[in-house]
Structure formats: C-alpha cells, structure tokens
Amino acid sequence: MVDVISDTRVKRSRRGPLNLWLGLAITGSIVALALLAPVIAPYPFDEMSILTRLKPPSLAHWFGTDDFGRDVFSRTLMGAQYSLLMGFGATLISFAIGVPLGLLSGYSSRTVDEAIMRLMDILMSFPPILLGLLILTVTPPSLSKAMIAVGIVYVPAIVRLARSVTLEIAQEEFIQAAKARDDSTAYILFREILPNAWPPLIVEAGLRVTFAILLGAAFSFLGMGAQPPSSDWGLMISDARPYLETAPWIVLAPGIAMSLTVIGINLFGDGLRQALDPRLNSSKSG
C-alpha cells in the first residue's frame, strides 16, 4: 500500500522573481570588486600626491582625486571591503546574540520571556546612534568596535523576530512530542525549532546588512568607526565635506557606491522573501 507516494505539494517555481536575480547580480559584482580591489585598483588607496590634488575625473583618475591627491576610484574600491565587513560582521553579531535570546524568549515560561523582552525594550528605547556612541565613546574608536556597536543596536529587532517565529513553532505538536520524549530545552530550541525558523530570519538578515552598512557609515562619518587614512565610505564622505562644492566627485563616488550596495542587497532580500514566503506564491493546491 505504500508503493505510490503522493507529493501533492505544488513545487515552487524554480525561476525566482526578477528582483532576486537583479539584486544578486549587483551584490555579487560588489562583493567581487571588493575582494579583487587590491588587484584591480590602479593606485594604492593611500598614495598621496600633492601635484594631483582635487583633480576632476579623467582617464588617469576615473573618479578624480581627493584633497591629498589620492585616487578616489581606488579608495572607493577598497572602501567596499570595509562596508561589506561592517554590514555582514554587524549582522552576524546581532544574530549570534539575538537568535538564541529570541528562541529562549519565545519558548520559555512567561517570567523568562518578560525579563528578556523588557531588557530589549530598554535597548530599543535608545536612539540607535546614541546607543552606538555610548558604546564607542568608552574606548578609542576602531572599525571592529563600530561593528560590535552596530551589532548590539540591532539585537532587539532580531530577538523580536526570532521570538515571534518561535511562538508559532512552539505550538506545533512535534515540539510537544520532543518534550514527551524528555528532550532538553537546548535541543528543542536549536535542533527542533531553529531549522524551521530560518526562512524569515534569513530574509531579515538581508535587510539588516544594508541597515548595518548605513549605520556603520554614519559612525565613521562621526569619527567613531574606521580611522584615517582608511578608505571607509562613511569616513571618505566625512573627510570630503569641505570640498562638497568645489570637488563633489570625492563625495559622490562613495555615496553612489553605498547606494548601489544597499539597493542590491535590498533587492536580493526582497526577492528572497518572495521566493521563500509561500503566502506570496499564487499557486495553491486544489
């Protein structure tokens, strides 16, 4: 009686939505450029030259030069590394802290849940910049500290998401079955619940990366992140402020690069959400 296996589930279309592919292409090329930056950059990013200060874009310097005569194109390429490191690093940190807390909060008794969530409320009640600055001002600034600060800023959002997903999954009968066979809470959280909670979390991760890039740039702009002479995009914009009117290309290049990165990752995240969320798929089984 078991020879015919019915798989009535309508398989999802292999062909993802357009924005998934577009986003993937943009993000992919930016990641590739960032990785290859040391090889393809025409000049070392920190090579100064008094003679070629503030030159507009030309064949020799595609994006022009800055106030120290450094090649903006090379600096922008190298800056991609910082931004991506910030984006992914900070997201990783917020997930590493947020997901376990969220799982625990969604699954545990009311007391534990309340304690975790009220703690998150406190974190969330600080404006993100202020919270970040608070963490950064205690010690001398650096990129890795900025990354940790951005990561912590986003922990509450991840906790809340992970909690809401867990609340739903914890109602499922297979969780009751795991309890009935005397499995530990840790096993239930990480082996039974977590694998089922990934789809919404992965989608959220895409969005978080872009937020982290922007917030990281804001910290650098305020002098709390990467330090000169690094070619971080936020720092580049900050340094170029006095020349905004006379040499706009110094600001435009990292600005456009940042926008492109954010748009690319956002498109990718959006596409991923559409591809993973069955509610957005029109196909249904009869």
């Binding site: 078991v2 015919v4 798989d7 589930r9 009751q176 009935a180 089922n196 009869g286």
Partner: protein, 691 residues
Amino acid sequence: MNDEPLLKVEGLSVAYASPGGDVAALQDVSFQVAKGEALALVGESGSGKSTIALAVLGLLGAEATIRSGQILYAGKDLTNMPAGELGRIRGNRVSMVFQDPFGTLNPGMTVGRQAAEPLIRHQGLARDAAMERVVAAFAEVGLPRPAELVTSYPHQLSGGMQQRILIAAALICEPDLIILDEPTTALDVTIEAQILDLLMELRQRRNLAMLFITHNLGVVNRICDRVCVLYAGHVVEEGPKNLTLRRPRHPYTQGLLGAIPKIGPERHGRLSPIPGHLPAPGNVPKGCIFNPRCAYALDRCQTEPQSLRSMDGGSVRCWRAEDLPKFRHQAGVIGEPSRSPGTGVPLLDVKEMRKTYPLGRRIKLGGPRLVSIERRDVNAVNGVTLRVRAGEVLGLVGESGSGKSTLGRCIVRLVDTTDGQIHFDGKDVTHARGDALHKFRGDVQIIFQNPASSLNPRRRVGATIGRSLDLLGKISKQDRQARIEELLQSVGLPPYFAERFPHQLSGGERQRVSIARALASNPKFIVCDEPVSALDVSVQATVLNLLSDLRDKLQLAYLFISHDLSAVAHIADRIAVMYGGVIFEQGPTAAVLSRPNHPYTEALLSAVPTVDLTLPEPERIALRDQSLGMKVATTGCRFHTRCPRKIGAICETEAPPLLEPSEGHWIRCHLPLDVLAYPATVTTDGDRKIA
C-alpha cells in the same frame, strides 16, 4: 418534480495549473439536481468535491480552468455567462454555506449586516428593510432573540449559532439551490445533529434543492435523496440513497461503508480499510482509476478505462458492478474479535485531578481591603478520577472544550496539574523530576491529532524516530538503524521510509510515523489524542486497526481521546464521557452504550449520524445550545445549563451524586437510576426556549 433539472452538470472537466503542467482535478463529471432534491457529493479529501462547488458558483481561482463541459442552471450555462449576469445568480438564486463558520464570518462586522448584504446587493433593499428580513430569517433558523442578535459580532456566538447565521444569510434571498460544503464538519456532534435537523426542516418548508458536499456517509444518510460518489475527480457511482448506501455497486463505495466504525455490540473486530491511497494528481493509474486499490480487480481492470454506465436507477463506473453483491463477505469485518480486556492492577491511577488556567487578573475596588487583585481562572479539568489497567483501552469522549485534551496532556506530564495525583505503575509521578521523570517519559507516550504538525518538517522520518532511541542511552549505529527499521515495520511502513521527509508522506503515513515514534521507547501506556480525527475514513480504519494490533501484540494500554463516539466505541474496553472538565459517566463500553445513561451520553448517542439503514433513526435529543455569552456552569452540576432533563434548583446548587447501575459503571446525576433507564420523553428544542 419538474422534468427540467434545476442544476445540470455535464461532462465537467477542470484542471489546475501547476509548474509541472496542468493537473486534472475533475474528469467528465456529470450529475443533476432536480427542484427540491438533495444530492450528496461524497468523497475523501482530494476527490474534487469542493472544486465542483466552486465551479458551479464561478469561484474557481485563476489557476483553474474549465476544460470542457457545461453547468446548466435552469437551462442557462454558467460556464460562459458574463460576470454581471453570473453575479445576479450567485448569492441570489444559488447560494453557498462553507465549512468553517469561524473563517467565513467577518469578525469586524455585526452578523446582521453580513446577513443583510445579499438583500442590499441583489434586491436593492434599504438597510432598515433588509434588517427586518434578517431578523425574520434568524428566527426561522431557530436563533434565540433574533432582534438583539443582529447587532452582535461573530466572536460572541457559539459555532452552532454562527453556522445558523450563515444558513440564514444563504437563504435570505430565497434561493432555489443551496450548496453546502461540509457544513457540519467543524461542529460538535450534538450541534451537528441540530443543524442537520434544521436543514431538513428548511428543505421541506421551502422546497429547496441542495447540493450537499460531505465526506460523512452518516450525514448523507440523514439528509439526502441521492448520492454521487467521487473518486480522484471521477464520478464512480451515482444513485438513490437507499440503494447506494444499502447495496453499493462500486467497490469504492463498498469500501467506504466498510471502513466506518459502527456503534454496536460487537467490538474489537477489525475494520476493513481500503488499501493504498488516492492517486497523486497527474499520476492517474491506467485502466480503471480505482484498480490499484480494488480488492476485486482483474487483469482487464488494469487496461480498460471504465466509463459511467447506467444501472437500475443510477449509474456506476465498474464493469463488474453486477457481481459486487457476491463479494460482500470478502469485505465485511475481517478477523476475529481479539483478546479479553486488560485485567490486574491499575497501571495508571489518576486521583481528583484538577487543572486551572489563569484567565487574567482584574483590579477589584471595595471589599475589606478596598483595593484587591482578583484572579480569574478557568477550570479545564475539574476533579477527574480514572484508572487504566495494563493492556486496557479507556476511551474518553467529549465535545470541544470538554477538557479531554488537557486531561491527556496532564497525564503525560506535558502540562503541570494544579491539584491531584497521578500514580503510574504504583509510583507517584505527579511531580516527578530528573531520572524519575525520564523513566516515566519512556513508559508513557502520546500520539497527536494533527499529522501535519506532529512531525518536524525539516527532519527525515528516520531521524525523528532515531532521536527517541538516542535518548534511551547509548546505541550503536547498526542497532539504531535496525531498530528504526523494525519500528517502521511494526507500523506497516517499509524501511526506506526512514529517508523520507514528512511532506513526502500522506496523512495516514505520517500518523503511522508518529505511532512508531511513540513506540520507540517501548512504552506501556500511550495517550492517543484524537489520533484519527484528521484522517479520511478509509485511512482512519487502517490506523484504528494498527492501534488495535499493537495493543494486542505489545500489551499496550491506551487512553483513547476522541470526539467521535463510534471510533471510541470500536476500540475501547471502557468509556468515560467528559463534559466541562468532569467525567459524567464511566463504565464498560457495552454498559455505556446502553441504558441507563447520563443525559449527556444519551444526547451524544442520539446525535451520531449512522449509515446503518436497518436501525430506526433514534429519537434525537437536542441539547440546549449556548445562548449569548453562556458558559459551562461553575456551580452544582456542570452540565445543568445544557441538560435537557434538568430537574430544578438542585441541579444548579448541588454537585450530583455518584450512581452505580452495575459493577464498574457509574453515572453522576441527580436523577434516580430508574428514571434514567427510560429515554427522555421531551426533546426540548432549547434554542427557542432559552430566554
């Protein structure tokens, strides 16, 4: 009856678009409904019965296409009718009642407005005039205090009342045809009985034609004139009710009838399930569509597709239909009634168990302390005492909200009890922790209702079962694999199923995996929480058979929880009847199924729809439906608010005494035994009387 049928469906074929190409949902379906006639469309899930309803109403989604065929309503083809004209028929001349009243009513709109909508839309009535008609319609479907009810919201009403409102809304434009898609499936059995009675009454009064979609042959027997049996999108048999249900002419119909557990004196027999399952859409077998599952299939059946042919008063899709009555004994109940019920010391002993859930807190002003915080609780289980012996099956019956699932979960210690004791195998396990709890978890297992949610979707079957083995202690890889295969075999699944993911299994197969998982720790006692309720009849029979076999082979004891009295009566040695967290009657199955009974048991027994045409339809005992905001009573007898045999004030103030009509059979009621021994004479139609 008129010559021209009201609704005539001819050669209807519908396909759904899917990534792998179009999948046929209906193939050449034809039937007709005359004026004032009730036709039942019967089939298991996936048979295409709901697709028919949607096609008739022009509500098929964008992914469905009508490939061929006609749907004639009063001679006009609905399939190629312009949207505007169809809109004038839909909800006006032809209306529909859906399965789930909770999902059909808009929670943010008063029920009166929702019911008035078709009048305003189709007949252009003003709001006030429409409301007057709504009040009249509510009264007609037996809703209490209709004038007040129109301003209430769906959540304030019980499921039965919501379904009555949907029926009233469907009838409000006085249609000729009403399509009912599983209208009672989501309701408790006593409420179901009342809704069916209401539909019968309305049908006669209004000469209404009905297209009644259901999977329940008992319901068909009660309400319909003709039956049309669907299998995998094909009509396999069509004919008058009395003929089709009494002398089925298609093996599938015969199989469906054989798979239904019946309430009767002979118990513990095996049901005769239909082997296999519905072919996957797009993967229809060659020859006769039913041949892979047919017990009488010959070589010829595998090559020759069957076509519908007429046969005395109906039609059938089987060339051996004439021979079918001869095969009847082959089907029937197979195997002998097995084993004697368990004896000996109680394995499980539950004493005075109570479980209260906090409903919330409220700040109360006044009183001696001026301001105090008042806690409000709900008693889900209210002092339950029961015993289960080794190898014994105790059936626990009750409607939704009776606390039966909570009781089951308290017993397996998934939920902590508020008060009372649980002894298992002579040890007090009420508050066991650590090693004692670990041992208890191995001895006591639970099987859940919902096959879709009881297995982790991201985990292979083997891993699910293997995890239970890992928790028992160290086990070598080979032993583990061998044991997984052995467990799969014991629930009738081949070893390669270990590599499958849950979504690759059918509902019945998933339920078997759940059973295998429960068996992994060699338990002595299993709580089966509605293990067959979510399954189709034919699959339900195989799972019930499996549970009985395992009980005999492994000397297992069960607490079998179900709302379905016939399933419980089939498998249980003793039955306990629960209402409002209290067990009102408990005793050996035969004793509980015969008089004297508690009034609630009596009502349950009279409400069960049966397909047995030889028995006279029992006099229905209607329970009083909940009126607005009514809850389970908290004082006196907890059943008094719905009891049709309430005596008076004593029921409201004093807890009923324990009566013992025979050894091991007891009833909790104020009425004396000699009164309970006779049926309730007055069948109160409480809805209309409750003020």
